[in-house]
Amino acid sequence: MNWISTLLPWQWALFAAVPIGIVLLYFLKLRREPVEIPSTYLWSRTVEDLHVNSLFQRIRQNLLLLLQLLAVALAAVALLRPGVQGESTSQGRKVFLLDASASMMATDAGEERNRFELARKMIRDQIDDMEERETAMLVTFSDRAEVLQSFTSDRGRLRAALQRAQVTNRPTDIVGALEAADGLANPRRSSTTGDANDVQVADPMPADLLIFSDGGFRDVSEFNVGNLVPTYLQVGSDEARNVAITAFSADRNVEKPGDAQAFATIVNFGTAAETFNLSLYVDGAWRESESLTLAPAEETGVTFSLAGQETAASLELRLESPGSGASRDQPLDDDLTIDNFAYAGLRPLRTVSVLVVTEGNKPLEIGLTTDSAAKVCIADFQSPGYLDSPEYLARAEAGLDDLIIFDRCQPKELPQTNTFFIGALPSDQWQWASDPGQTILVDIDRTHPMMQYLELFSLLIFEGRSVSGPTGTRELVGGDNGTVLALAPRDGYQDLVLGFEIITSAADGTPQTNTNWYAERSWPVFLLNVLRHLAGAADATAAPSFLPGDTIRLRVESQIESVGIARGSGTPETVRTGNSGSVEFVDSDQPGSYRVTADEKLVDLFSINLFSRQESQIQPRETFELGYETIETAGMIETRQEYWRWILAAVLVVLAIEWWLYNRRIA
């Protein structure tokens, strides 16, 4: 049993005056009301009788006074906060790491609203139990760490900081929080170990590292706990139920752009089989439902077909209760709600605009006007002389085209868009790496989307050269003498460079073929790939999805000065566009479908989803790796057993008895 005084000495002195005052008041206040009676004969005898056991009688007489003094004494004891100390920390310094990631919103936290509140309560108990000499620090972590309160022994500030802590919709990354704690506990040295001049820049501050989490993060391998003594306080129950949508996207059918398809992956992370409905809503209106039953840890993919969806659409996928009647269409009541909803956007059907600058290239022309290509692209063919026209300059400056193909020619300045150079180099950063000569293709990078479905080893190339590009250049096709097709990034754009020409001009100007590629089946496929992935026709239909808390970067037309970004049908937030139409949006904590509008016209769509298996896997982990240590859960940390609440209850009981006795006496 130990005591924590809650009053200062002068306050105690004041408090001591209270019982003295009660005693004085008791004697001053006791004015007996005179009553005339026939005779005090019997009363005197009664009083004499009472005097026989006078001590007991005196107690009876002053019972109210005694009860009042007892109440004051109990209050004094309560103010001393008696309690039995649980584990006492040896460090005198604590770092509270509070997991604020999405999985902490799981509601399997007993009486508390969710895991986060439970963890918060655990920390509050810890703060309450802190002794005067102890200091503590509070760090929350989701995908980033936030130091809410640095080391202090002021419990009020710690409580205030704890009150400020909010659970987020974000995934978990504990490393930042560990680094924040590490910086204080394990100060870096001024130079390398073993140096005679090595000085320690600060005293190490050993601390208890109390991690309040469900363990929903990756093991941290490259971390040395050093002076930190980690304790893992697992939050959450092992019987948590959770069904999650771990992936959801929508895309248009390339063949039939009016039709779209939505794909979803649903996983049951709970320990029992779950039956639920999966409902698809398009622009808020119900479109389709499917009933599913998933065994524990089972995963399934679901495809929805959306016919006649030509306009832009916001898609929402919900997990709903399987019941009928009132519970129908109600969200599925599992322990984590955030992953029961998924959003996807379907951009309006649009074609890419391609400018082709060439002296004449029939294979290119044919390739860009095939049925498939024509559906996604509008090609504009111009001669190289067009490059000097003001119209081109304005067009290049504004980035009106999604792709400009330079066939055997080179602009003075690279345009603000993606480019494809055929038999030419974009800028000085590019060089020819070999002399012209017959080229045999050796290597194809099939992992790149532009290279998929291509069979190029049968190509004949009469004269080709290898190219070398700036830093970051990626070889897509390698020949016997070096890179033949390369892709390099440039200020957010991409330049694709082909080291050989398709058509050459003879001395007399007649075109000649340099390769048999145009006759191959792979030629139109390659062009289609370029249109889809370099000109952006592929991602023109499916809106991107981001994680909560991500910084969202979008590109809109550069003439647009500002855009409005709204979640669902909410009020738009105005965001100014940066250079060449780049938009950065940081208020991305809420999952949902977001619409980007300019002058009330829809410009773009994106969605924010918690597609994180780590967060959805809400069964708390028993252990995790930290550096070379395995940290096991400490269960509930033993806190100080406080008795002041019971004592206060006793004060109330005493006061109630006193009041009852008083009323009985005067009644």
């Binding site: 005339e36 026939p38 004969y41 009363w43 006496r665 009644a667």
Partner: protein, 297 residues
């Protein structure tokens, strides 16, 4: 405890009619002063034969039984039971303590005295209803129904507040009245110097003593609670007390032991002890309770 002025008549006509049929019972046979309706110790004239005795010169010749003389040739006197009157005293305690209760104990005491007195008057007894203390000196001695009015007038004129002790009052009465007879002491017995001496004195005078103990409900179950200063109405004595249930219980047990003490004291000395509550109707007390207790018949 409220003190009220009583405006209720001492005896109602109904009660008077009932009282006329009653008779005071004397457990002893006393010698009366006048011829009355009660059997006396004396032999005298009545229809009831008592004894014979030898004639001695000087006896009334009218009493000689001539039939016996004819048979036995001796003169015998034939003696008859004498019927005489009875002395009935009703003593009322007029102390201030009697002036409590609703109706006041004093009023009830007067009613009792009037009723007993009227019974006596109807039976041609010698009735004297007196107050203890100075007011008793002017009490009339009455006989016959016609004395009712006078008795009532005297009773109406009595005031409480004549704080003499029971002993002094009884002593004063004894000095003034030497005769024997039935005496009904109507009192609340609340005398700090004790009631024993007074009763002993009455018993010592070979009176047939009845003690009518008047108690108000407020005394039996006091309605006071809390921190009080109790002031004695007679001597102004003060008792500070915190009255709670425990103290009340103690008071009640004290009262009970006091009552049983009186009862024991009386029964040892052949005194009839009659506790009467003021909330009992006089009618009921006279016609049922006292009859049951053998005071009247």
């Amino acid at each position: 405890m409220s003190v009220t002025t009583e405006s209720i008549p001492l005896l109602s006509p109904d009660l008077l009619a009932k009282l006329e049929r009653l008779e005071l019972v004397s457990r002893k046979v006393f010698r009366g002063r006048m011829k009355g309706e009660r059997r006396s110790k004396r032999k005298g004239q009545s229809v009831e034969f008592a004894d014979f005795r030898n004639y001695v010169p000087g006896d009334d010749l009218r009493l000689i039984d001539w039939n016996l003389y004819a048979r036995l040739d001796h003169l015998f006197l034939k003696l008859f039971q004498e019927e005489e009157d009875l002395h009935v005293y009703a003593l009322i305690d007029c102390s201030e303590s009697m002036n409590f209760g609703t109706p006041t104990k004093f009023h009830v005491a007067k009613q009792m005295a009037a009723a007993l007195g009227y019974i006596g008057l109807c039976r041609a007894d010698r009735v004297s209803v007196q107050a203890l203390g100075n007011q008793g000196r002017r009490a009339p001695v009455l006989r016959g129904r016609s004395g009712l009015w006078k008795m009532l007038q005297y009773l109406e004129s009595l005031d409480s507040g004549d704080n003499v002790s029971l002993h002094d009052g009884v002593k004063d009465f004894s000095l003034r009245n030497t005769g024997t007879g039935v005496i009904v002491l109507i009192t609340d017995l609340m005398d700090k110097s004790g009631y024993e001496a007074a009763l002993r004195m009455l018993v010592g005078r070979r009176m047939d003593v009845y003690v009518m103990h008047i108690l108000s409900p407020e005394e039996i179950d006091p309605p006071v609670r809390g921190d009080r200063r109790l002031i004695d109405s007679e001597d102004g004595d003060e008792t500070e007390i915190t009255i709670n249930n425990y103290v009340l219980e103690r008071y009640k047990s004290t009262l009970q032991s006091f009552l049983s003490g009186v009862k024991t004291f009386c029964s040892r000395r052949s005194i009839a002890y009659l506790p009467v509550r003021t909330d009992q109707p006089v009618d009921d007390v006279m016609t049922r309770y006292l009859r049951k207790r053998g005071v009247v018949r």
